[in-house]
Amino acid sequence: MTYILKPKLHHPSLPKNALGFTRRDYEGRVSTLCAGCGHDSISAAIIQAVWELSIEPHRVAKISGIGCSSKTPDYFLSQSHGFNSVHGRMPSVLTGANLANRDLIYLGVSGDGDSASIGLGQFAHSIRRGVNMSYIVENNGVYGLTKGQFSATSDKGSKSKKGVENTESGIDLVALALQLGATYVGRSFSGDKEQLVPLIKGALSHHGPAFLDVISPCVAFNNHTGSTKSFDYVREHNEAVNRLDVILGRTPITAEYKAGEVREVTQHDGSVLRLRKLHDDYDPTDKIGAANYLQERHAEGEIVTGLLYVDPEATDLHDRLDTTARPLNQLNTADLTPGADALAKINASLR
């Protein structure tokens, strides 16, 4: 616990984004998580990503469940909409909100307990329905709030702080999300913001269900030798397949790359995902290849990170249901009660 507020003073050269806001304007309250928690780095990465995208804070809805991870929306974007929902029910609340108001940018924040245990069904169905959202799992492999029991994402063979080995299989949320139809799938590490911030930016600007599994070491209960989610283990076994730059609209492209090093993926809305290849044969638009590669590397004990899969032609739940183009709160009486003539027409069409 930190007892003082973060001072308002900031660096004299702190830059402003297109809206005239500094990064500090996107902060929330000072974290009450344990000092050094990986989740705080993810919060910082979210702040950085939203600031860089010049998103107006009131256009974001941050929705979470229960757990250490689900506390974090209090620590970023204090000017945004928020809903701290029931354990494991973030995906349903988010789906409902999204259906009611499609104009907001939905950021679902969850943890490995919230998404892989109590909320596994919710997670699965929100992905397969194709809700337009950025679903971030802050994955530390333990139940931190109840003092460090193995969670469902904990790898088989991984050891607890007291040296007990996990005998159960771990759930790979990335593999599940791929299978269930997520159209933007990435994995990253809280200790690598250079990789994480662009992945969050890509997810926020992706039209469709975007899923990010962010390994986030629990400093209190899962950062020891024998853990497969410790800072040291992740750094040693991290195999990044690519580095991402997100280019929106007509931003001029200034960085220089050598030929063959870069692959550009232009999405349906015109935004460009530029991937610097770190692995020669990796094709992030090949879903089956991605799934196979993940399995292969997992068997070797490696953790594959980067943008693992993206479908540039992705659609979402609204597209499929052909819903009204406007948020429900903008529909007026005339829209909602079109009158007897309209009813007669509908009835006639059904005869």
Binding site: P7, G38, S41, A44
Partner: protein, 594 residues
């Protein structure tokens, strides 16, 4: 880049910008915390030990600490360090009982020539050690320029009497109204060491047409101020011109306003920004309806049969020559004339040593200044030392005090057969401020208040009385609020790489973006790729290697608030907040340990 060696006392000393900038290196944050804690006497003691005249300096110091203050770089204005010093002086109690005990006589005799701040500092440092110190001065009371040149409305006489009194209470033999006329004779008197602290007593004159004829109404600034101080002069004409742009000129014009000058103006050769006077002194003068006219070079005193009637000035402008030097060149506009009844000339001061014979073996330079060692204060005669304005020309009180301390160290070492060229290292005390998991023994919360203004006496009242002090000083409440603005820069962020797990918690929480973990590089290149660019080259980068990933931790010291959040959010204690108290070694056993 080389990892920072934080065991070097200078490294963290430099981070305490105020203390580093102070010639006497007063531990500023330490006494400001004591003021916030209402421990005024303790705060005064820290000052007294370091700068000898806290009450006097708390009103008159040139404040080199304030432009250096880190607060000035993170918001608008620095902490009012100088005026906080006065709060300690105004609110202390029972200080006389805390004066050092005087050791038994050690058999050595020292002469101090002049009873100004430099000499009195030497006396204060050496008398308690058992030296028999003799102080000579031509004036009736001790204090030197503090008493003769600083107007009473800035510095009441009681304050001078009190602080000079603390020194005379230590038992130096005061030879007042006794001008030393011959160094040769003094050397023959058998003193073990002699300290010259005679100041820069001669005001520079202005040799232009009309000077001799109109002499009755043309006064040398410092002599005139001294006459006012000693009550030989109590009035001046209605229209007064003050020539010069330094602090003496500001004292002259404000004094003139109080002695009958209604139309007082300051006329300066240079531009407003280039004037030597401190910004706040210019501000105070302007506040007393005194216009400052710039870029006017005095050409002639105009008189009517010996009665001064005015002055003419040539209009100039600043131009840079081919080598980039600033020169003042005539604009070609017609000369300007200003009517006046009196002129005060405050265009500089000079040293003068007519009483030092040139055949006694002392070396002088081409400007007739004695050759003096910059750290040792020693002249070419080994047992004769100089300090204050007498050493290197006009400076200010705090420099005089610093010189006095250095000379006292030299004298003490010299008379104990030590090599005075090897200066004693400062004492450093390091104390972790950690009290609980997330609590510190200093107040790490950052106050958002802007600088508080010192209340002033009503202008109409203060302009009528040359002795009425203009500044009323902060009261205890304002003093507390201003003290809370201090960033505690002496509570250092100390980093231990071997326990760091590179979790980024410190990087994420730092409100000033000071901390970066990155690949190593050379300093110039590293400065460009930190979390926030490190453009202030006057401030060091704190670099530490030995991290698990092989990267380096780089902290830009420039705008760190010392709020301790990095240490609060650090899970392994790799960051700790440690108070580094730097205590400059003064004369006494500590300086002669070799």
């Amino acid at each position: 880049m080389q990892s920072t060696d934080i065991s070097r006392p200078d490294y963290f000393h430099k981070v305490v910008d105020c203390q580093w900038a102070c010639p006497a290196h007063t531990p500023v944050p330490e006494y400001i915390r004591l003021i916030a804690d209402r421990r005024y006497t303790d705060a005064y003691m820290i000052n007294w030990k370091s700068n000898v005249f806290p009450g006097i300096l708390g009103r008159t110091c040139d404040r080199p600490c304030e432009p250096a203050c880190r607060r000035g770089r993170v918001e608008e204005e620095p902490v009012a360090i100088c005026r906080l010093k006065r709060v300690a002086a105004d609110n202390k109690s029972g200080f006389a009982a805390l004066l050092p005990k005087v050791a038994p006589h050690n058999g050595k005799k020292i002469a101090c020539i002049g009873a100004g701040p430099a000499s009195l500092t030497v006396a204060r440092d050496l008398a308690p050690l058992g030296y028999e110190v003799h102080v000579y001065d031509a004036d009736k009371k001790a204090g030197g320029m503090i008493r003769s040149q600083i107007p009473r409305f800035r510095l009441p006489e009681e304050v001078i009497d009190e602080e000079v009194g603390y020194i005379t209470a230590l038992g130096p033999v005061m030879h007042l109204q006794q001008r030393v006329e011959s160094m040769k004779a003094l050397l023959a008197e058998g003193y073990d060491a002699i300290f010259v602290g005679t100041g820069a007593p001669r005001g520079r004159d202005l040799d232009i047409p009309g000077r001799k004829e109109a002499a009755a109404n043309i006064h040398i600034g410092i002599d005139w101020l001294s006459n006012v101080s000693f009550e030989h002069t109590n009035k001046i004409g209605r229209r007064v011109i003050v020539l010069g742009g330094g602090n003496t000129a500001m004292d002259c014009c404000r004094t003139a306003r109080r002695l009958g000058g209604e139309d007082v103006k300051v006329i300066v050769r240079s531009g407003f920004e280039e004037m030597k006077a401190s910004p706040w002194e210019k501000e105070d003068a302007i506040g007393e309806d005194i216009p400052i006219l710039n870029y006017l070079v005095p050409k002639a005193f105009i008189h009517d049969g010996g009665k001064l009637t005015g002055m003419t000035f040539e209009k100039v402008k600043a131009e840079k020559d081919a080598k980039g030097r600033r020169n003042l060149v005539p604009t070609g506009e017609p000369d300007q004339h200003f009517d006046c009844d009196d002129v005060l000339v405050a265009v500089g001061q000079e040293n003068s040593f007519p009483w030092i014979e040139r055949d006694i073996g002392m070396t002088f330079d081409k400007w007739n200044m004695p050759i003096v060692g910059e750290e040792t204060m020693q002249s070419s005669i080994p047992n004769v030392f100089f300090g204050g304005d007498a050493a290197f020309g006009p400076k200010n009180i705090i420099w005089a005090v610093a010189h006095g301390h250095a000379a006292a160290v030299s004298i003490d070492m010299f008379l104990n057969d030590q090599d005075i060229s090897i200066r004693p290292a400062p004492g450093v005390t390091v104390i972790s401020q950690k009290m609980g998991i997330h609590e510190w023994s200093y107040d790490n919360d950052i106050a958002n208040d802007s600088r508080y203004k010192v209340p002033h006496r009503d202008k109409a009242v203060s302009l009528k009385d040359v002795k009425a002090e203009v500044e009323l000083g902060f009261d205890q409440i304002l003093g507390f609020k201003e003290a809370q603005r201090c960033l505690n820069c002496d509570v250092q962020t100390v980093f231990t790489p071997k326990v760091c797990i590179e979790c980024d918690a410190c990087v994420d929480i730092c409100p000033m973006d000071c901390i970066t973990f990155t690949e190593d590089g050379d300093e110039a290149e590293l400065r460009t790729r930190l979390t926030a660019p490190a453009i202030n080259l006057g401030q060091d980068l704190y670099v530490a290697d030995g991290l698990p990933t092989g990267r380096v931790m780089v902290k830009d010291e420039d705008v760190c608030l010392h709020c301790g959040l990095c240490a609060e959010r650090c899970p392994t204690g790799a960051w700790d907040m440690q108070k580094h108290l730097i205590d400059i070694t003064q004369a006494g056993p500590k300086c002669r340990t070799r």
